[in-house]
């Protein structure tokens, strides 16, 4: 079962803060500890920033997962931006086209349990991250 809890529109810097605070609140409600709350919120902050930097606007959808023994949080960060030409390259440390440190994508992967990246040139990008309650 997947239950959508909230959808946050991401268009500017302030929305990044709104999105990560919202995710943190839900993670806390679900019973995640302080460290996991920080990991999830930080991951969302990285992905929401990518939306603002590369696609200008998009959305962050926060959902609760309850699939048998697997309970947790799922966050989908989606935009209709230019897309990622080479996902493998984007997932490697130090690679950036946005003037950052190039650690957002590879770093985010280390903070969550599952991360899926879908992207198509000219259509957009959708990054899904999941963190399960242990």
């Amino acid at each position: 079962m997947r239950q959508v809890l909230e959808e946050v529109a991401v268009r500017n810097n302030t929305d990044i803060v709104t999105a990560r605070n919202s995710v943190r609140t839900y993670a806390k409600q679900m019973g995640f500890g302080l460290v996991d709350q920080s990991r999830i919120a930080t991951a969302v902050s990285e992905l929401a920033r990518n939306i603002v930097v590369y696609a200008k606007s998009g959305k962050v959808e926060i959902a609760k997962l309850n699939e048998g023994p697997k309970k947790g949080i799922e966050v989908v960060c989606e935009d209709n931006g230019p897309g990622i030409p080479d996902i493998e390259q984007a997932m490697s440390e130090g690679f950036t086209t946005g003037g950052s440190l190039g650690m957002g994508m590879p770093g985010t992967k280390k903070l969550v349990d599952e991360m899926n990246v879908w992207s198509e040139a000219g259509k957009g990008t959708r990054v899904t991250i999941r963190k399960f309650l242990k």
Binding site: N13, R24, L34, Q37, S38, R39, A41, S100
Partner: protein, 139 residues
């Protein structure tokens, strides 16, 4: 936009971040701090992040850059009060805070900063003394 106060207490500038900073406010803070260093001739900078519960790669880089920029101008910087969850996340994220001095809390940070400033002043005095000696010898 959030505006973070930069306070001068004796020779030090103290910045306490108590709200979630968006990117723009963080950049503004960076500028404010460097301007205050020039204006007040502060000898040291202390950034208190006790209340900060999320540090992503942008914010981490910002803190690191402030420390590096302040160092270029002169004053050493100490970052104090990083929460355990923030420290864990930053290391897992892979952000290197090379060149940033940290302390557990405000009290320890102030002591450390005092020592750093004193060491710097001793070094400066030694350099000055050596220069004077050099002049005398050549005169």
């Amino acid at each position: 936009m959030e505006r973070i106060p930069v306070l001068k207490i004796s020779d030090f500038l103290i910045v306490t971040i108590q709200v979630a900073l968006d990117d723009e406010s963080a950049l503004k803070l960076q500028e404010d701090i460097l301007e205050e260093i020039a204006k007040t001739k502060a000898k040291g900078l202390l950034i208190d992040i006790t209340a900060v519960d999320i540090v992503d790669s942008f914010m981490g880089r910002m803190i690191r850059d402030i420390a590096r920029m302040a160092r270029l101008m002169g004053p050493p910087t100490i970052v104090v009060g990083m929460q355990p969850a923030v420290a864990i996340t930053l290391v897992e994220l892979g952000l290197k805070m090379t060149g940033v001095s940290c302390a557990l809390n405000l009290e320890k940070g102030l002591l450390m900063l005092k020592e750093m400033v004193e060491a710097k002043e001793r070094e400066e005095r030694t350099l000055e003394a050596e220069e004077t000696e050099g002049y005398e010898a050549s005169a």
